[in-house]
Subunit: 325 residues, 2 copies
């Protein structure tokens, strides 16, 4: 790899001048600038980011913590993050936490050891450990003292419950995501409000994880516990799809016998048959906007709002019954 010294020698100037030319900082004569640029081109020189970041105590890397990349919601978030972050000249260190607090802590330490400029996290607990770096929470709300971008979970919970209420609900089961994830509690609150306002009877079914593997078991348990369920408000699309599959396996017809609504609107939901009705979250936007806020903070610009709430949208598809009246 070529270094700034090689460039300096070829251009016939000092390393300081090369550095100034490179960063367009300080005074550089036009003549020197051109000589340096020519030398850089000739040598195909690119500055070593490691050396830069050692001196600056700040790299061009941003840490991204995700709970589970296998959940298709998060790759979309990651894509939004990546696009914005690249636009601003940063790259991502990926941390897939897999609901494992040890991995999480390890990643946060590694981020620090690598002088990351900041961290974007979709993992609830991390906010405690991120005290020393600028960070923005994605999707998860923690406290309103921290920067975060998330969608309107309360509204989402209401919309889902409303969609079900309007469609001969029968026995309703509301699936509640892991207690540790506060979104799921907010959604629940929204759903409960609507259900109670409409005098719809409902029961709760808790799931301890958002992960793929556990969904199968959850779906099975749900039908064992509530064999007469007529409407299910699932905690996300993966669960919803798995529930639909389990219903079909049990010889139930969707939506006639059981109607289901999911959450997230992952790309597969509309491909399924019957297609899944769901509350669409702007995953890409969440990532993009979060990255924008983080980059602005890093660059020292002031960011007006700490918490940005993006709207959710009800997607009516085939997994819901026809509306009454």
């Amino acid at each position: 790899m070529k270094t700034i010294k090689d460039v300096a020698k070829l251009a016939g100037v000092s390393v300081a001048t090369v550095s100034r030319a490179l960063n367009k900082s300080g005074y550089v004569s036009e003549k020197s600038q051109l000589k340096v640029e020519a030398a850089i081109k000739e040598l195909d020189f690119y500055p070593n980011e490691v050396a830069r970041s050692l001196f600056q105590k700040k790299s061009k890397l941003i840490g991204l913590l995700l709970p589970d990349i296998a959940n298709p919601f998060f790759p979309l978030v990651a894509k939004g993050v990546e696009d914005k972050v690249n636009e601003m000249g940063y790259k991502l260190i990926l941390g897939n936490v897999q609901e494992n607090p040890l991995k999480e802590a390890e990643y946060i330490r590694t981020f620090a050891q690598n002088n990351v400029a900041g961290v974007l996290s979709a993992v609830e607990s991390s906010s405690n450990n991120l005290k020393n770096m600028p960070f923005v929470m994605l999707d998860r709300i923690t406290s309103d003292k921290e920067y975060s971008v998330h969608s309107d979970d309360y509204q989402g919970g209401m919309l889902a419950a409303l969609a079900v209420s309007e469609r001969s609900p029968g026995q309703v089961v509301v699936m509640v995501g892991p207690r540790s994830v506060s979104n799921s509690l907010v959604r629940l609150a929204g759903s409960v409000k609507v259900l109670e306002e409409n005098n719809v009877a409902y029961q709760l079914f808790e799931t301890e994880s958002y992960q793929f593997d556990s969904a199968q078991e959850s779906a099975y348990q749900l039908f064992e516990l509530f064999p007469d369920v007529k409407s299910i408000i699932a905690s996300n699309d993966i669960h919803a799809l798995t529930i639909m599959r389990e219903a079909i396996r049990r010889g139930l017809t969707i939506p006639t016998d059981v109607q289901v609504i999911g959450y997230d609107d992952n790309p597969y939901s509309k491909l399924m048959y019957p297609s899944l009705s769901t509350i669409a979250q702007p995953a890409y936007q969440i990532g993009y906007k979060g990255a924008e806020i983080l980059c602005n903070r890093i660059e020292g610009l002031k960011v007006k709002e700490k918490t940005i709430q993006l709207p959710v949208k009800l997607e009516i598809r085939e997994s819901l019954r026809k509306k009454e009246n």
Copy 2:
């Protein structure tokens, strides 16, 4: 952030001794070792990886190039990569190339600028630009001079064609992935061999991308071009699911009117109704094994085989008709 100097001062030794104690290299008396360890613990010190990597000209970071994280095959690969790489003390810089050669080149340059220890790439073209770093190709085969881990595409192509051939194929359409991706050509060769051996008539249908968005349009075109198709060998599960959806939209029944087989076995395929028959690729294994080879190369261990081919498996589900006889 605490530095090695702080540790040295607190422990009452020189920075050299701290470094030696830290890395267990050279001579360190037991007494010094203990003093250093105590100081490290007291200060909660972790070495700055940036400084390390500047001196070593090699970081503990590994670049990962993926064509599209939104395709659920790749998050699984990434998970395998991440698990192995973490095990060996490395972290990942993520590069989502999105079939864009410029982004790819930019990522490769960034990897170099950050002194990555090596690169794992699932993007075909990258092998040309990676000359200066150790790298292993994932999923894609390039030349047998390069390290790679991929699954047995020829076998996969054969299995898919065989499954179809045995089930009253009728008019068969074989979908061919982008020409630039050599896997798809190998698969095609496998399929063609079986189809011709069994005297099954077939037609080709080319798709220019593996991306999500284009799948919809492809599915539509396929049925426009071949309205009487009875069997479809799709180039991956996303396409297969989209095709099934389009078939249903057109009032066709699966598998009676049209049978479909996919490729990859992504987690959604078995949730679909009817569930999608497919050729399962060991995505996680590909990532894990690739990472293992790369890490071994980085650590200077010799790696026996350059190319590792993992087996594929036929998953018969509901999207295929009953076998004849």
